[in-house]
Amino acid sequence: MRLALISDIHGNREALEAVLSDAAARQISHFVVLGDIVGYGPDPAWCVERVMALAKAGAVVIRGNHDAAIAEGGRDMNPQARAAIDWSRPRLTQTQRDWLATLPLTQREGEILFTHASAHSPGDWIYVTSGRDAMASFRSSDARVIFCGHVHIPALYSCDLVGRVHDHQIAAQVASGNALPLLPSRRWLAVLGAVGQPRDGSPAAAWAIFDRDRQEISFRRTAYDHALTARKLRGSDLAPAIAEALAERLREGQ
């Protein structure tokens, strides 16, 4: 069975649509959404509605810090993120807001753990950006494979037989979409890139396919009409400086 792993949609309808249709073209019907459905992007309500439909069809959906901030206020966020959340909140229905608040922080499926940020104290939204961060996740869970998002830059870590953590150089594989085997001799942590706001220099939506039978992960990029998303941001009633900064990010993938 193959799973489409998608994370950090951030209210970007065009990116989400492109990824879902790419997944459909690859005959993938199982989805996991690793949080941050809203924030930054111009279409929070549409994205939440679409993910709710995925959840209804059986998808695993995890709560991210932006999703949590809809109900909790996002007082610890940076001003830009917080402004986007404050703008998004009234655009969601009460049902959508309630649904976001009920999402789990982590979910375990057999030997796989899904979470938005570090598996170590998931509610504290710790970024996994180094082997040391990955080590904390490996220590706080006995899952063989951990999938998370939050960082917006794809990465792959492994923990070997003697407990050492390795940060694998996967930039090339991310670009080419090659299947990477998650060897049974190790434990693995994959950080997904962002669907709706990539920050690794490529504007294309980042996601991944996990083949459970073959135990292989393929990092994928799907091009989408980011210029349209940017136009929507600029045409919105977000503060112009913030809308401009968010729009520019999409074009550069930064």
């Binding site: 792959l156 070997d160 037989l161 003697v162 407990g163 390795h166 940060d167 694998h168 150089q169 996967i170 930039a171 090339a172 594989q173 670009a175 080419s176 090659n178 990477l180 085997p181 060897l183 049974p184 001799s185 190790r186």
Partner: protein
């Protein structure tokens, strides 16, 4: 989590049953692994199980080497790769079950060779061709072996050469677990390339060097750099050149010395750029361009070596391979090889504009693939199989005539000798002959022409269409621009002037109609 103390952990011994496999006799005990005969009720074939010898505690390189092999071997395919049947769980007992290859490795063959009794030339060349063909197929799968040596060459019952042991190999599309963890050079010292000493693990030309070292050994009975056992001694090959093989074996043809010494060049850029190019020279001895390498009769003097040593004192590495080898982006090219291009050209007078166009297309391809080699091919169509077509009515040898014309055509590419070969194929089926030849020389691309639509094509069928449909590689079809019909009148559909096809036509310039 130190799983070596896991209570479920098993150790291999005769009679052990694991995942349905029963261990039989131990066939081999190597430095890093043991090999066992195994049986399984679901697999009636002969199989062996390789079990890494993991000492209690931390035995990094053995484990990572085994992980590397588990990662790479199942992704490989083809006749020169051992077939994987099962892999074991590290938590219980790591193992790899593959088909059993009969007999011992080619180490025996190499051991039988001495300076008094080197390998006969014919056998040596045949084996060299086999290894380079197998190596090319491996490289095409974006895998570099990095531990080529006699002990890693075996044969199937039908004689097919098989490259075994991928514990040090590198797959260019997968993370390099070994490089991520260890900084010591790995490989078998007498055979490893100088850049491997410099920690390079992404250059397919390292395998070319190892192949060169093996051929040197077969040709002379001695290793080019001696029985190297220390890293210090490996480093020496950065400046110390081997004694030219002819000095040790006077009957060695200069072209073969050229091939061997070229493979053993210190700078990968001066070696063959791919195993296919090496195969190309090994199978076309008369067309190998001889350089100073072929004429060399003794090793370089101490001054020259000292100078090279000085030059190499701070070297950190060599330029990466061209054509994206070792680079992350595989989309730019299906292979990591400099290409072998095959130009199929029709030399009939009425085809001159088209052959000029093919020449132009070849120049364009060579502009982007400056390392490529070119095989110029022409087909001499024999009317009927078995009919003697060697001479024309005046008794001139058609084959020779055609070869001369082909050489004149190819010379216009301006390639140095040794980068281009000329072959006239004789066949009643030009398309089949071209397809077959492309497969034999492992061409990456065929460039050929197609006639504009004509009734001739209906008579003869389209050679180009058949080649496109059946060729083992990419095919570029060159066409002359369609002539614009004058006064809006379509051009009459007629045979090319001066050529009337008849069944059983006399030998005809056949190729791309």
């Amino acid at each position: 989590m130190n799983q070596t103390r896991n209570p479920r952990q098993k150790r291999p011994h005769q009679g052990l049953e694991i995942d349905g496999f029963t261990l039989g006799e131990m066939l081999h005990r190597g430095g890093f692994a043991t090999i066992w005969q195994v049986s399984h009720p679901d697999h009636p074939r002969d199989m062996v199980m390789k079990v890494p010898t993991i000492l209690d505690g931390d035995d990094g390189p053995t484990i990572v080497g085994f992980e590397t092999e588990q990662m790479i071997l199942p992704r490989l395919s083809g006749p020169h790769i051992p077939e994987v049947i099962a892999m074991g769980d590290f938590a219980v007992m790591p193992y790899l079950v593959t088909e059993k290859l009969p007999g011992a490795s080619l180490q025996d063959v190499f051991d039988a060779v001495t300076d008094r009794r080197p390998m006969p030339l014919e056998a040596l060349i045949a084996l060299a061709c086999e290894i380079s063909a197998a190596l090319h197929q491996l490289h095409l799968q974006r895998v570099i072996h990095l531990d080529l040596k006699p002990g890693n060459l075996m044969r199937r019952a039908d004689g097919t050469l098989v490259l075994i042991d991928y514990g040090l190999a590198r797959h260019l599309d997968l993370p390099d677990l070994l490089a991520e963890e260890f900084s010591i050079p790995m490989g078998t010292f007498p055979y490893i390339a100088p850049e491997q000493y410099l920690r390079s693990r992404n250059d397919p030309r390292s395998d070319i060097f190892a192949l060169g070292a093996m051929l040197y050994e077969l040709a002379t009975g001695t290793l080019p750099f001696g029985q190297t056992v220390t890293l210090r001694a490996v480093r020496r090959r950065l400046w110390q050149d081997p004694v030219p093989p002819i000095a040790l074996r006077p009957d060695l043809p200069p072209w073969l010395q050229e091939v061997i010494l070229r493979a053993l060049e210190v700078d990968p850029a001066r070696r063959f750029q791919s195993a296919a190019q090496m195969l190309f020279d090994l199978s076309n001895p008369t067309q190998v361009a001889l350089t100073a390498r072929a004429a060399k009769r003794q090793a370089d003097g101490w001054r020259l070596r000292l100078r090279r040593r000085w030059q190499m004192r701070r070297i950190r590495g060599f330029a990466p391979p061209p054509d994206g080898a070792g680079l992350p982006d595989q989309a730019t090219d299906q292979s990591l090889q400099p290409a072998v291009l095959m130009a199929a050209v029709d030399l009939a007078p009425e085809m001159e504009p088209l052959s000029a166009r093919i020449l132009q297309a070849m120049r364009e391809v060579l502009h982007f693939r400056p390392e490529a080699r070119v095989a110029c091919v022409n087909v001499l169509r024999s009317a009927r199989i078995g009919l003697d077509i060697g001479t024309d009515q005046d008794g001139n040898n058609l084959h020779v005539q055609r070869l001369v014309a082909l050489k004149a055509w190819g010379a216009q590419l301006g390639l140095p000798e040794g980068r281009v070969t000329y072959t006239v194929l004789e066949s009643s089926d030009p398309a089949a002959a071209l397809i077959d030849h492309a497969g034999r020389i492992m061409a990456d691309q065929i460039v050929m022409g197609a006639r504009a639509s004509s009734s001739l094509r209906r008579y003869l069928g389209s050679v180009s269409a058949q080649v496109v449909a059946e060729a083992p590689c990419s095919v570029t079809i060159v066409r002359l621009p369609a002539r614009r019909p004058e006064h809006g009148r379509p051009e009459p559909d007629r045979p090319v002037s001066g050529f009337t096809p008849t069944p059983d036509a006399a030998p005809d310039h056949a190729s791309p109609p």
